[in-house]
């Protein structure tokens, strides 16, 4: 029996949404098998990583906390990816956004007032945008590939963070420990559900996704971004500037990564520390793809990835599974999703071979 791939007239909408679900399910099945073969408790790993955080209501608040930055960053990235602008340095923009917010917090540390937090957030967005403006400028002016520049700047931002928290920003009353002062009450995100750890970052993430969805599907801006990505020649003919799209894509991606950064430092962290970079910027790339570059899909995908993070911590304590295993599960999910992509554009057809004349007895 032979199969052949046949191009579809139009991409299959069913497959577009079915393949991410299939990728997650297949990851669980394959993950259980692979981890069992290499000597771990495979079934236990899948149960703890994918199901426990979902079943146990006590873990839901952790999911909200983890999913929020992932959703905010991934929404920004998805807009760029739709326009074929490959910003993979969201981690750097996230760090610089958080640093900008921290700078404001430290400068206003002895002040109080409702305006402190909004000011920090504006600084965070601006910081992320400024950091993404560098690769945008280099791409537009010098045609330098943004994949490499955004990534190189991520490594630079980690060094900038280390320099600041060890040097000029070190807590003067912290006995030389590498961290800043704890932000004051007006500089930290309020809790929105009493008795939980859910902060203002979670509703902001949902609003960001909703606004992006309206913009991308209902506005001229969204149309322009999609056309530039799908058909650059047509876009040029239609008068859409490619350079302007590159700028927009990187500034939006950087700004949202910066927003996620400042919400994280003013939220769960409450101060800047060297361990601030937690690879949210890289994981958000998986979230963006798993969510099919659609803001609403990204909300679901963000929760799925948050489940694996929270579940990874559970599995570490309950069955002793090392935390990096989570990275393998996440990569496997992305591999399977990309493999399934072909089913969106092609259909599998059975080839019925007619016996050739000579073969008939």
């Amino acid at each position: 029996m032979q199969f052949r791939l046949e191009k579809r007239q139009e991409p299959s909408r069913f497959m577009l949404y079915a393949t991410p679900v299939a990728a997650v399910v297949l990851t669980m099945v394959l993950g259980a098998i692979i981890f069992t073969t290499i000597g771990f408790d495979g079934v236990g790993a899948v149960r703890e990583i994918f199901l426990t955080p979902l079943i146990n209501p006590l873990k839901w608040q952790d999911l909200a906390v983890k999913a929020s930055p992932l959703i905010i960053i991934a929404v920004g990235l998805s807009i760029g990816y739709r326009a074929n602008v490959w910003n993979i340095g969201a981690e750097g923009q996230y760090i610089v956004g958080a640093l900008a917010g921290t700078g404001v917090a430290l400068a206003t540390w002895e002040m109080t007032g409702w305006w402190l937090l909004p000011l920090m957030i504006i600084a965070g967005v601006a910081g992320g945008m400024a950091y993404a403006a560098v690769p945008a400028l280099l791409r537009v002016k010098f045609k330098v590939n943004e994949i490499l520049t955004t990534l190189m700047l991520t490594y630079v931002s980690v060094q900038l963070l280390n320099y600041l928290v060890l040097g000029p920003w070190i807590n003067p009353t912290g006995y030389g420990q590498a961290q800043t002062r704890l932000f004051n009450a007006d500089q930290t995100l309020p809790y929105i559900i009493p008795g939980t750890i859910v902060q203002l970052g979670t509703p902001i993430a949902l609003i960001v996704a909703l606004v992006a969805w309206v913009l991308m599907s209902k506005s001229m801006f969204g149309f322009q971004i999609r056309v530039v990505g799908l058909a650059p020649h047509a876009a040029r003919y239609g008068g859409f500037s490619e350079n302007r799209t590159i700028w927009l894509a990187l500034l939006v991606g950087g700004g949202l990564a910066g927003l996620a950064g400042v919400l994280e430092v003013a939220g769960p962290f409450g101060r800047m520390v060297p361990s601030f970079p937690t690879n949210y910027g890289f994981t958000a790339i998986i979230v963006a793809f798993l969510g099919r570059l659609n803001p609403l899909g990204i909300v679901v995908a963000g929760i799925v990835l948050a489940i694996t993070f929270v579940g990874g911590q559970v599995a570490q304590t309950t069955i002793g599974l090392p935390f990096p295993a989570v990275g393998l599960f996440q990569a496997m999910m992305l591999f399977l999703l990309l493999a399934g992509d072909i089913l969106v554009r092609y259909r599998l057809r059975r080839v019925v071979r007619l016996p050739a004349a000579g073969e008939v007895a």
Binding site: L5, K7, W86, I88, L138, F142, K143, V144, N145, I147, L148, T149, L151, M152, L153, Y155, V156, Q159, L160, N162, Y163, L166, G167, F282, I285, I286, F289, P322, P324, A325, V326, G327, L328, Q330, A331, M332, L334, F335, L338, A339, D341, I342
Partner: protein, 309 residues
């Protein structure tokens, strides 16, 4: 500057460049065939952890290098099946490969945290490396000589052989190569596997000559620098060699600055740590200034090939 210091700097910079040189050479061949594999960093990490594990358990570094090459080539096949077999997006798949390699090396490296590994011994008798000048010739790890041999081999293959000609044809014009009867996909599979094996050997340089203890994420973005180096070298092996040593020099400055001396006290150490990455960006800008457009890139780079449609 004393000759001893100068030779010390040369030896350090050659060592620092060797992993990047291996990985970039492999990526160069893959890109020449028209495939952009952004998974170099991940494949290097897989190579590093496999090499560490095999060398630690067998005591034979050559076996470690071989296993690293095989493991990374195997991992690169995930990328090849997805992008060549299923024509998945090369950028996204390469990123997924890096995420995979990072997780893989972190998971399997944990068992070796803090365990020491003997450095790869020189293949020459010790007596040859006593004088500083002789040391500049004979004082390197065997991997360094292997990397130089690979530069020559890749150059010879691409420029002088029929196989190299076919590979370049596939990267420049897949449709013509296909109509001439060459298997575009087959050539690309081979090129990706070679790229994987070379990234694996590049990764094995870390435990064998640079950090003789297991450290999570020990490649620290060198795989990405290798990708930039291919652009810098304009897809030519000899230029790649020069570029790799230039990056090695920048990284050596960091090491010497950290050890203390001169301007190191004026500039914070984090600046020196960030310097290789900043230098990469600067170099990319300079290159694009010189070549008005990226004319030297293979014409089919990153584009999927579907013969039947």
């Amino acid at each position: 500057m004393s000759p001893e210091l100068l030779i010390g700097i040369i030896i350090t910079l050659v060592g620092a460049s060797t992993p990047i040189l291996f990985a970039a050479l492999g990526e160069l061949v893959a890109e020449k065939s028209g495939v952009l594999n952004l998974g170099v960093e991940g494949m290097m990490l897989v190579g590093a952890v496999i090499c560490f594990a095999v060398t630690y358990n067998t005591g034979n570094p050559w076996l470690g290098i071989l296993s690293a090459a095989l493991a990374s080539a195997a991992v690169s096949m995930i990328f090849a099946v997805l992008t060549l077999g299923l024509s998945a997006n090369q950028v996204a798949t390469g990123l997924a490969l890096t995420i995979f390699g990072t997780g893989f090396s972190a998971l399997f490296g944990r068992a070796y945290t803090g365990k020491p590994l003997a450095l790869f011994k020189s293949v020459f008798p010790d007596a040859l490396a006593t004088h500083p000048l002789l040391r500049a010739v004979f004082g390197y790890s065997p991997l360094v000589y292997l990397s130089l041999a690979m530069v020559a081999l890749v150059w010879w293959f691409l420029a002088k052989t029929r196989g190299g000609l076919i590979l370049r044809a596939v990267g420049e014009s897949d449709i013509s190569a296909h109509s001439m009867g060459y298997s575009v996909i087959g050539v690309r599979y081979a090129a990706v596997a070679f790229g994987g094996a070379m990234a694996g050997i590049g990764g094995s340089c870390f435990p064998l000559m640079l950090t003789p203890q297991w450290v999570e994420g020990l490649t620290a973005g060198r795989g990405w620098i290798a990708l930039a180096l291919v652009v810098f070298g304009a897809w030519r092996p000899i230029r790649l060699l020069g570029g790799a040593y230039l990056f090695g020099l920048v990284m050596t400055i960091e090491l010497y600055a950290k050890a203390g001396g001169g301007i190191a006290h004026v500039v914070p150490s984090q600046f020196w740590a960030a310097l290789p990455y900043l230098a990469t960006i600067l170099v990319l800008v300079l290159i694009s200034l010189r070549q008005s457009s990226n004319t030297s890139a293979p014409a089919c780079l990153g584009k999927p090939f579907l013969p039947t449609n």
